[in-house]
């Protein structure tokens, strides 16, 4: 009798609206930039690509083809992928440790992954080795943070875990400095430095497609685990008594979240704040239920980074590294939402 009051339509509606919004921002980003493409020209380009009919000059079409396929599309895909990976991992780490103050950045994952990736760049040209090392050290970093965080008597202390993350993050930042110190100052060092500032522009389309498989796999996996994450906030014993395998869920979730955030570091350097702010804003808007929070974090994390990237491309004639920009945009937003966010998690 009461069925009609709530089925999943509300949840699906949020997801649909988010996806449409993301697609709209992506489409807009495709047209905007140093060389704006108007709608009419874009339609002519599509016409040319699909039917081979050239309505406008062939030189213009070739230029647009180059801009879209070589520059804008890879960037847009990467921005969405990286933003989604960071925000989803942030939401999952927060659920996992029942701690609204953690994110891949705060737990030291990004620092660990960047150390691993830098080591990889030092010893090998192989993309796979860089990724594998980034993930391994991202995992070591979060493990180290948890170890320090649980050293005290109270293993679920919010502050201790954050402190553990700060320590772990500093450790790997120092180790990274060592790598930089020994790196070739004419070739490897500048590469590492610019990459670390965060950039969406270096990646090629085929690299992106390759890395998108494990990232999408983790995001999707985490999105389906939302109902289990909700139980974890009740404490381990109660979660077990409600019928879930707490240890397995913790391990799987930490692996997926670390994988997604470490790979984002390999592709785009250290991009802070997305993993902390986006889950907070979503939680404020729709409540704490992870069933919806995790997938919506993916969508809006992608949208946020896409917007930030658009600003970075359009605002000034010189491109601001995206990692710096997300901090510059993220910090004021976080300060603004902090008061409400506190209410939402208490």
């Amino acid at each position: 009798m009461l069925h009609f009051l709530f089925d999943r339509t509300k949840e699906n509606r949020y997801l649909a609206v988010g996806t449409v919004l993301l697609a709209a921002i992506a489409a807009l980003s495709l047209l905007l930039g140093q060389y704006p493409i108007d709608f009419h020209t874009f339609m002519a380009y599509l016409n040319y690509k699909i039917y081979g009919i050239a309505d406008i000059e062939i030189d213009t079409l070739a230029l647009i083809d180059n801009i879209i396929l070589e520059i804008r599309l890879p960037r847009i895909l990467l921005a969405i992928l990286v933003g989604a990976a960071l925000a989803t991992s942030g939401a999952v780490f927060q659920a996992m440790f029942v701690n609204p103050l953690v994110s891949p950045g705060i737990l030291g994952v990004l620092a660990g992954a960047s150390f691993g990736a830098a080591c990889g760049m030092l010893i090998s040209e192989q993309w796979f080795i860089v990724q594998a090392l980034a993930f391994s050290f991202g995992f070591v970093a979060v493990g180290f943070a948890v170890l320090i965080g649980s050293a005290g008597a109270n293993s679920r202390s919010t502050v201790m875990l954050v402190l553990g993350g700060v320590i772990s993050g500093s450790l790997f930042t120092s180790l990274l400095s060592v790598v930089k110190y020994v790196a070739d100052p004419y070739s490897v060092l500048p590469a590492i430095t610019y990459w670390l500032m965060g950039s969406l522009s270096i990646a090629q389309l085929d690299e992106i497609l390759l890395v998108s498989i494990p990232i999408l796999f983790s995001i999707l996996g985490m999105s389906f685990m939302g109902k289990y994450f909700d139980l974890l906030s009740l404490g381990d014993e109660e979660a077990k008594s409600l019928g879930i395998n707490v240890k397995l869920i913790r391990i799987v979730a930490i692996i997926l979240a670390t994988l997604a955030s470490s790979l984002s570091v390999v592709m785009a350097g250290i991009i802070g704040w997305v993993g902390l702010i986006i889950p907070h804003i979503i939680r404020m808007a729709i409540g704490p239920s992870n069933r919806l929070l995790v997938p919506l974090s993916a969508i809006f994390g992608g949208a946020f980074l896409l917007l930030a990237d658009a600003v970075s491309r359009l605002a000034l004639s010189v491109e601001i590294p995206i990692g710096i920009l997300t901090s510059l945009i993220g910090i004021p937003i976080f300060i603004m939402v902090l008061k409400n966010a506190r209410e939402a998690w208490n």
């Binding site: 009461l2 069925h3 009051l5 709530f6 389906f224 109902k227 009740l234 409600l242 239920s289 209410e343």
Partner: protein, 258 residues
């Protein structure tokens, strides 16, 4: 026909950091019973409950429907027993309905979300607990009594017939304590089985069909509440002088100061 117990505990031992918490506990729980576990702080009541729920591992045998608890996953245990903890702080502002829906998770497939059927069950459970009106409120903002009722509703939504409770009335005011006991009594009449720990001999006298007294990690008596709860037992276990009086054919435990 001999009745088979739902839960059977045989010669259970448990120690933590070299100190013996349980030494040779035997217990059984039959369908329809309301069993109160009585005993002083640290006597091993809560440990016993956690062992039955497989939240701790001890030495000895625990059978659930005649099968060792070792053979059950937590998911399977959750389809037989609902655990109602003391109300507590829950981080993040989950709504009451969301809290109750958490009781349905063990019934869902890996990729499934709660369906409209699950929502329906959760609402029926809230209705049964008399708190349907609270469904959209934030759990953390409720009073202690309301929170405890939400945890009851969650257990009902689990669709099991056995409830295990750890100090269900702890921290509640007198009125809420009595209303909760009445609610337990009501549910037991519908056929639910209860195993609960309690600090109050009076509560055991009020609603239990059997009372088990523990002290120092052992069960020292097990029987009808009126027979088990006696002045010497209260003196022995709690070191309190008490008088057991009969009022309206019901026994009551009255503490006496000297």
């Amino acid at each position: 026909m001999e009745l088979k117990p739902i839960i059977e505990v045989k010669d259970l031992h448990f120690s933590y950091k070299k100190s013996q918490i349980l030494c040779g506990v035997d217990l059984h729980l039959f369908k329809g019973e309301v069993v109160s576990l009585l005993g002083p702080n640290g006597c091993g009541k809560s440990t016993l409950i956690k062992l039955i729920l497989k939240l701790l591992y001890g030495k000895g045998e625990i059978l659930l429907h005649e099968k060792s608890i070792e053979e059950y996953s937590h998911k399977e245990i959750a389809s037989h027993i609902a655990y109602i903890p003391q109300y507590h702080h829950v981080p993040f502002g989950y709504s009451v309905l969301e809290m109750v829906l958490m009781g349905r998770v063990s019934k869902l497939g890996i990729f499934a979300s709660p369906s409209s059927h699950d929502h329906f069950i959760a609402l029926e459970a809230l209705k049964k607990a008399g708190i349907l009106g609270l469904k959209d409120r934030i759990f953390g903002q409720l009073s202690g009594g309301q929170k405890q009722l939400v945890l009851f509703a969650r257990a009902i939504a689990q669709e099991v017939d056995t409830f295990i409770m750890d100090e269900p009335v702890n921290g509640l005011d007198y009125g809420n304590q009595m209303r909760l006991l009445e609610f337990i009594d009501e549910l037991s009449r519908e056929g639910y089985t209860f195993l609960k720990t309690t600090h109050y001999p009076d509560h055991a006298l009020l609603i239990s069909s059997r009372t088990v007294v523990m002290n120092g990690g052992k069960i020292i008596s097990d029987g009808k509440p009126g027979e088990v709860i006696t002045a010497p037992m209260i003196q022995d276990v709690y070191g309190v002088n008490a008088e057991i009086i009969t009022h309206d054919a019901h026994k009551r435990c009255i503490p006496i100061f000297r």
